[in-house]
Structures are given as C-alpha cells and as structure tokens.
C-alpha cells in the first residue's frame, strides 16, 4: 500500500498538472489519469527514471466511454487509452489512463519507449480507431485489412445479423485476395542485397508446424531467417465484444475457448475478477477444488506442449504417449465437470457442483501414475542428444529482454527470474500450498522446456496436497450474488426465492467499477480487466493473454536461425492461437 501511495505522490510532485486525477479501483492498482500531451513522458519516466522502475508493459488497451453512465470523478473522455505497467522490483502495478476527446482520436505512440507496445497499439487502432502518431506500422492487427469499422466501438454491431446479408461478389473476392499479398516494402524489408535475392516464404496459416492458424512471412537467405512478420487474427472471434452482450454469468463458457488447452484455467481469472467486484468470499472447499482442477489442466496443457514440441523437432512417438496421459486427465475432468476441453466449471462464488463420489481415487491414481511417465519422457525427449542439439541456444533471450517484451510464465522463468504469480501474488488460495518455482538459466528453447517439465512435477505436488487436505463445506458461496444461486433455501422463504429468480433470469448486477485479476495460466499470465457500468453485463471485457506478447517476440528471437529452428522456437514458446486472437 505504502509503495503504491509513494508512487502516486511522486508522480504528482513530478508532473503536477499533467496528472488529472486519481481513480480508485476495486483491484487497488493505483490508477492515474494523465493528460494526453504528457502521457508518453510519464510512461517513459516510470520505465527509465525512477528507482525500482516499472519495466514491463503488461497491457495496453482502450475503452469506448461514450455510452458509460457511471464515471464519477473521471475526466471527460470519449476514448480512454489505458497502460498497465508492472514493476518486478516493487512487485506492484500502476495503471495510467489517458482521456481522448475526439471521435477518431490521435495519441503519441510509445513504441520507442516500449517496442512491445507495437502490437498493442495496432490492436487498439484496429478495435477502436485510435491512431498512434509515430507508430512504424499503424495498420490493422487482428481484423482483415479490408474490414470496415472498428469492432470494439460501441456503434459497431456485435452480431452478424445486425450487419446485413453477407455477399461475396467477384470484385470483393479479388479485393480480399489482394489483401493477403505480402509487400516487403510495407514492412521496411528489402527484396535483395547486392549479391543475393531474398526468398519470401509464406508459412501458414495452414501449416503442420504452426499449431493453428498462425501465418508468418519469412524473409530467407537460403535457409537462414533474415527477418519475419507474423500475421495474426485468423482465429479472432470477438471474445471481448461478446463480453459486452452476455450476462456476467453466461460469459463463463466463452472464457473456456480463449486458451482452449487451459480449460478451467480460463474461468479462473474471470470469476476471480467478478468476485472481486462483487466482494464475494469463496468457501475453502471451492477454493481447493478450483486449484486442483486448474493444476490438472496445467498438466494437460503442458503435456500437449511437450508432445507437439517433440513432434516439431521431428520425434514421432512422444506426442502419442503424452496425449494418452492427457486423456487420463480429461477422464477425471469429465467425471468432475461433465465436459472435457471446455468444462465451463467455475461459477461466480464457487464451482458448478460438488466433486463426484470416488474422485479421490481417480485423482490419486493419476498422481501416482504420472511421475514414472515423466521420468520416461525425460530419457525419451529431454535427454536425447539430437533433441538437445536442436533446442539448446536456439531462440534465447535474457530476463531483461523478457520483461521488456512482456514475457510471462515459463518463458520468463526460463531466463532465471523466479517469478510466479501463484507465489508472488497468491490468488484463489495458492498461499496455502507448498511448491517450488522451477527456473532455468539460458532462456533458450531447451530451458523453456526444462521449466515446463518441472512445473508438471510441481503441479502434481499441489494436486496431492489438494487430495490430502480437501476441506469439507460448501462448494459455492451463499452470497446472494453467487450465480446460479444455491437452491436449497429457495422454496423456504420469499427473499431467497426472489434472489434466485433474479439471479437466474438476469444474472448478478455488478456495481460500477473496474478491476483486473491475473493468474498464472499454463502459458503465462492471463488476466481479465472488467469494467462494469452498474449493470448485468460487462461494459468492457479486456482479456490480457500471454500468447499475444510471446508471438510478438518470435521474429526477434528467431533472427539469424534457420527455418527448422523457427519451428523449434514456435514449439518451445507454447502458444494457442485462440488465446492470441481472442
């Protein structure tokens, strides 16, 4: 607290009038409104000039404020651009908001302060129509080049049925085709040097090695990668826009589909954020159930990574063993949640149901079975000399670069920084568990693997503690806003009946305010920044996903390597396109 108070005071002293106001939020992140003209200066100051600086640009997004009714004390603004910074030295965050009073506003780009802001600014431009002056490539990121309008603006329709009939006449077809053409000059790339022509290779969006619809355009000199441009957005489904027309409760299944390998791991930050805004305290049993399921999904996700990584490097068999083991986890998930990949299991205030009979044996069997397999996989994959030759020193970066580029999760820990949200900022009851944070030293493809493999072991440890210490009690809070409300009392008195009726039909009404809660998901840190306008729906749902910055960094770490290495790097980064594009 005092840490946060001092940074607020410090900024007030330093920048005086430029700081328009302080806003209090539900998540207690110091939130300062900064004048547009000096925003960049404040951000650069926070990054470069203070002790224990805020080195990581954790998130950069915007809000269309034009339909918002509850904005007490906030400066006038039609569009607000929001920067979320993290200081690892302080273990604390700061949020800078910049009000923009224009229909299609302009703002200075901060790409020269944080290169990582490149994609974030493009996304904001794409979604809101906010222009960033001085950005090297101010063009759309997720939507097709030919798209008209900016989807997250309030006037943009959310449903296809509101947009008129879809037609694809020849001229439109040709236009779409041409939009995919890659022009190296647009990206500042040369087509040739004095003595050689470069080959531009279009990799994806359909390619066996990219794990989904990622498109990368490679500038090749022989097989050597000179540079590359990722083209993303093929998996964009407008998850953030959907948040604005679903009730707080009915949005939960959509979160499952963000990182589709993470299952309940996606529900976690979302329900935690809503609970924070509602002030719901979750019962212990629900907490432990959540942690157990989340850790099972972490293992499942890591197993998919393990197998596909080995396959990217050319090992044919491991993926079958690992999917086999993942199947055992999904069997448990099926028994507990009734569904497999998209369990839709967490609820505002707890989980959907209590654990089924016999769950201890199922989970215990798995925890007993897995370590032996892991040992086998070590000798099959991680200790294999060819595998090591393919991954050691490939795609390496150090801690400083990782923070600069917004890398979190195993990719950050592989550089040696012992930083895990579950330990450093315990959420959902993780402070009650004993486990280690695995780290490695070189930050290369191999080390990212080492960290993940060890994380599987640590997750098993956590799950064992869940089995041994599962508290008795309720699986859902009896807070009136818990959704759907518990039914035991409904037929007994009129108050709970009304509550039940309202919460089932409308869902809970969240008081005006905003908050973000981040969790250590399997691929990095995943957070939901939610804004409520005192309504049964969210006013803005921002999903901060790990795959986004991780893929943004790939061209940087793959430069100078070969095509084969690029695939090893992509495998080691462990991303999900649905997570990136949302």
């Amino acid at each position: 607290m005092s840490e946060q108070a001092t940074i607020e005071k410090q900024l007030d002293r330093q920048f005086g009038d430029a700081i328009l106001t302080h806003q209090s939020t539900k998540d207690d992140v110091p939130t300062l409104w900064v004048e547009k003209a000096r925003a960049k200066e404040v951000l650069a100051h926070l990054k470069n000039d203070i002790d224990q600086p805020y080195k990581m640009l954790y998130d950069l997004t915007a809000l269309d404020e034009r339909d918002r009714e509850h904005r007490d004390g906030q400066p006038d603004s039609q569009f607000t651009v929001l920067y979320h910074l993290i200081s690892f030295d302080r273990n604390s965050d700061v949020r800078i908001k910049v009000p923009l009073d224009d229909k299609y506003p302009h703002l200075d780009s901060i790409t020269d302060v944080w290169p990582a802001s490149n994609w974030y600014e493009r996304e904001v431009y794409d979604m809101f129509g906010v222009n960033f002056d001085g950005h090297p490539n101010m063009r759309r990121l997720l939507m097709p080049k030919t798209w008209e309008g900016h989807p997250l603006r309030k006037e943009h329709p959310a449903r296809a049925t509101e947009m008129g009939q879809f037609e694809l006449p020849d001229w439109k077809h040709d236009r779409e085709q041409q939009a995919y053409e890659f022009k190296p000059e647009e990206w500042g790339m040369k087509r040739q040097t004095e003595d050689a022509d470069f080959m531009f290779l279009n990799l994806g969006p359909q390619h066996p090695g990219t794990h989904g619809v990622l498109r990368m355009i490679l500038q090749l000199d022989g097989e050597q990668l000179v540079d590359s441009v990722p083209d993303v957005g093929y998996h964009h489904r407008g998850a953030e826009k959907m948040g604005e027309r679903q009730s707080w409760h009915t949005y939960i299944p959509y979160t499952d589909r963000i990182d589709y390998l993470g299952g309940v791991m996606n529900n976690f930050p979302y329900v935690l954020t809503v609970e924070k805004m509602l002030g719901i305290e979750v019962p212990d049993r629900a907490k432990v159930i959540r942690i157990m399921m989340a850790e099972l999904f972490r293992i499942a996700s890591h197993l998919v990574w393990y197998g596909t990584f080995a396959q990217d490097v050319g090992a044919l068999s491991p993926v079958f063993y690992m999917f086999n083991d993942r199947e055992r986890i999904l069997k448990i998930v099926e028994a507990v949640c009734g569904d497999r990949m998209h369990p839709n299991w967490f609820r505002i205030g707890g989980v959907a149901q209590d654990l089924p009979e016999g769950w201890e044996k199922m989970v215990q069997d798995f925890v007993d079975y897995m370590p032996k397999r892991l040992k086998e996989y070590d000798s099959l994959v991680m200790k294999n000399k060819i595998f090591q030759a393919r991954t050691v020193d490939i795609g390496a970066y150090d801690t400083e670069e990782a923070i600069e580029w917004g890398i979190t999760g195993p990719g950050l820990r592989a550089t040696g920084l012992e930083w895990d949200w579950r330990k450093k900022r315990p959420y959902g009851g993780y402070d009650q568990f004993e486990f280690d944070i695995p780290t490695a030293t070189n930050g290369d493809s191999y080390d990212r693997g080492v960290v993940r493999v060890e994380e599987i072991r640590q997750s098993l440890r956590i799950i064992q503690q869940c089995i041994d210490n599962m508290p008795s009690g309720d699986y859902k809070s009896d807070h009136p806003q818990a959704t759907p409300p518990r039914k035991e009392q409904t037929m007994q008195d009129i108050e709970t009946l009304i509550n039940h009726f309202v919460n089932v039909t409308w869902g809970p009404r969240v008081p005006a305010g905003e908050a973000i809660v981040s969790v250590e998901a399997s691929k990095g840190v995943n957070g939901y920044y939610l804004v409520s306008d005192d309504s049964t729906r969210s006013y803005r749902t921002r999903i901060r996903v790990p795959s986004f910055p991780h893929i943004q960094m790939v061209p940087l770490i793959s430069r100078g390597h070969t095509v084969a290495d690029l695939l090893a790097i992509l495998g080691s980064v462990d991303f999900v396109l649905a997570d990136l594009d949302r």
Binding site: Q311, T562, A564
Partner: protein, 318 residues
C-alpha cells in the same frame, strides 16, 4: 535360350517380390509404429487390416492425375519415375539365394552405388519442377544430404571389398562363410547403416521432406499415383538398403536349417524393422547439423576404417 528364359523368370520373380514387399511395408510400418506408440493402427480392412494396402492402392490409382499449372510439366512427371527405376534396377544385382537373382554382375556393388546416386535426381528434379518454395527448399536439402552421404556410403563399403577381394555381391556373400563381415567391418556397417538411412531419407534423417518444417518438402505438390511412386519408392529403397546390409555384412542367404532365401528374407526384414524402430524413436537433426556430422565425423571415420582395413589386408596377405 535357357539362360535368358531363366533371367526373365528371375527378373519377374524379383520384381513381383519387391512389389509385394514394398507396399506390404506400408502396412507393416503403420502397424509396428502403432504398437510402439500405444495405439491400434489400421485394423479395419481385412484381417489385422492387412488389406489396407489394397484400399490405399485403389485410392491412389483412382485419384485424379493432376499436374499443378505452374509446374514444369515434363520434369514434374519424370521425377517420380526416376526413384522407382533406380531402386528397382538396384535389385537386379541383389543375390536373393545361391542361384536366385536377376544378374550376376562382377561390378554389382558399383552398380548399386551408381543407381543410388541416381535417386538424388528424383528429389532434386521434383523439388525444382514443382515450382513451389517449400518443394525447392526440400529439393535443395535433399540434394546436399544425398550427395554428402553418398561419399562415405561408398567409402564405408570399400572395407568389405578389400577384405573379400571382389565387387561381385555373390562372391562377397560366399566369402562370409567363415565369419560375417559385420565383425571385422563393424564401423563400416554403422556408417553404411546411417548413410543408407540418409539415402532413403526417412525419419530421423528425413530433412528433405520434414513435415513440421517444410510441409512435405520435395513432394508437396504431388498427388495420386505420382505421389504413390515416391511413397512406394521410399519403401523399395528401405527394402533395398536392408537387403544390401544383409548381403554385405550379415552373410546374405547363408545360414543353417532354413533354405537360403528364407534366411535372406529374415535378415532383410530384421533391418526393415530396425529402420521403422529408428523412425519411431528419434527426433530429426537440423539440416546443417546433419551435413556437418556427415563431413566432419562420418567421412573421416569411413576413411580411417578404409585405411586400417587396407593395412591389415596388406599385412596378412602380403
């Protein structure tokens, strides 16, 4: 007349044998991989799925014979036939039994090496004619890999030639009656095994067609029977290399109790299974790693093996 009729019969017999074994390998490989990977593999068509091959072949034969409009048409069509022809020609010199074989050539071994060099053309031309960047990368990789590995493939066999004093495969087999070549020529065997693996470009040395990197490399654009020729050609290549290992290092048809041809088949199949096992268990080295390993480790080793063998041969016979 009798000899020529015998030759024609033997040629047809060997051709038929190869054409039965190679597609059969598709089934064998898929089943074996499945066993090693904890899954079923093809088990629907016929007993144990053995008719899967027939189903595959019907499908491949009835597919549209399509040449991409941007391809170099004549070369595109010729490329897959080269690999089929060159591997099949090599079988002419393989002695299946004491009296069975298409031709008894006194430069049999050289003929085999020459034919396997021809195989490189198939990959390069296919990669070039497809006019596709992935194919081009695959063709380039294929060319450099096969050319580098050919060099010490030949050198690794010279030890055998020195010891047995002949290029004739039949005489090499007969010379192994006392002791299989694999014992004195163990390094030669290892090097030839690796070179053979590279020549047939199968996982782990399948860099010309590395699926996760360059889709299917040189044969990305091929479909229907033209793809089928690459596909079956690969299996014929595996059979050929296995048969050559059996012939050169493991005494060919020699062996007690069974008729000679059975021994030859047993030995050949043992190595085919070894190739499949290697595919199931190893990741793929990078293309430049493969080349530098070839030139910096295997080539000196092959030369050393040759020199030591030569010295011993000179010392013992001299």
């Amino acid at each position: 007349m009798i000899t020529s009729a015998h030759t024609v019969l033997a040629a047809l017999g060997v051709l038929l044998g190869v054409f039965t074994i190679a597609p059969g390998l598709i089934w064998l490989e898929r089943r074996l991989l499945a066993v090693w990977q904890d899954r079923y593999g093809p088990n629907r068509v016929g007993p144990f799925g053995i008719l899967q091959v027939v189903a595959d072949m019907i499908k491949i034969f009835t597919k549209e014979d399509w040449v991409p409009p941007f391809a170099d048409k004549p070369v595109f069509i010729i490329a897959p036939t080269i690999i089929m022809l060159s591997t099949l020609m090599s079988f002419a010199v393989v002695p299946v039994g004491p009296n069975i074989g298409v031709i008894d050539m006194n430069i049999g071994l050289l003929f085999f090496l020459a034919m396997s060099s021809m195989g490189a053309y198939s990959v390069v031309l296919a990669g070039w004619a497809s006019n596709n960047k992935y194919s081009l990368l695959g063709g380039m990789r294929g060319a450099s890999q096969m050319i580098s590995y050919e060099v010490f493939m030949g050198l690794s066999l010279l030890g055998v030639v020195l010891m047995n004093g002949s290029f004739n495969l039949r005489e090499i087999v007969l010379a192994q009656e006392g002791m299989w070549n694999v014992i004195p020529q163990f390094f030669g065997f290892l090097i030839f095994l690796l070179a053979g693996l590279a020549e047939s470009h199968r996982l782990p040395l399948d860099v010309p067609e590395a699926e996760s990197e360059i889709i299917a490399g040189f044969h990305s654009e091929y479909s229907g029977m033209k793809f089928g020729m690459f596909f079956v050609g690969e299996y014929i290549g595996v059979t050929l290399v296995s048969a050559m290992i059996a012939t050169l290092f493991f005494g060919g048809w020699l062996g007690p109790w069974f008729p000679p041809i059975v021994w030859m088949l047993i030995k050949t199949f043992a190595f085919i299974c070894l190739f499949i096992l290697l595919r199931a268990s190893l990741p793929r080295p990078r293309y430049d790693q493969l080349l530098s390993y070839g030139w910096k480790v295997m080539l000196p080793l092959a030369i050393l093996n040759l020199m030591v063998t030569g010295a011993i041969v000179v010392a013992t016979t001299g």
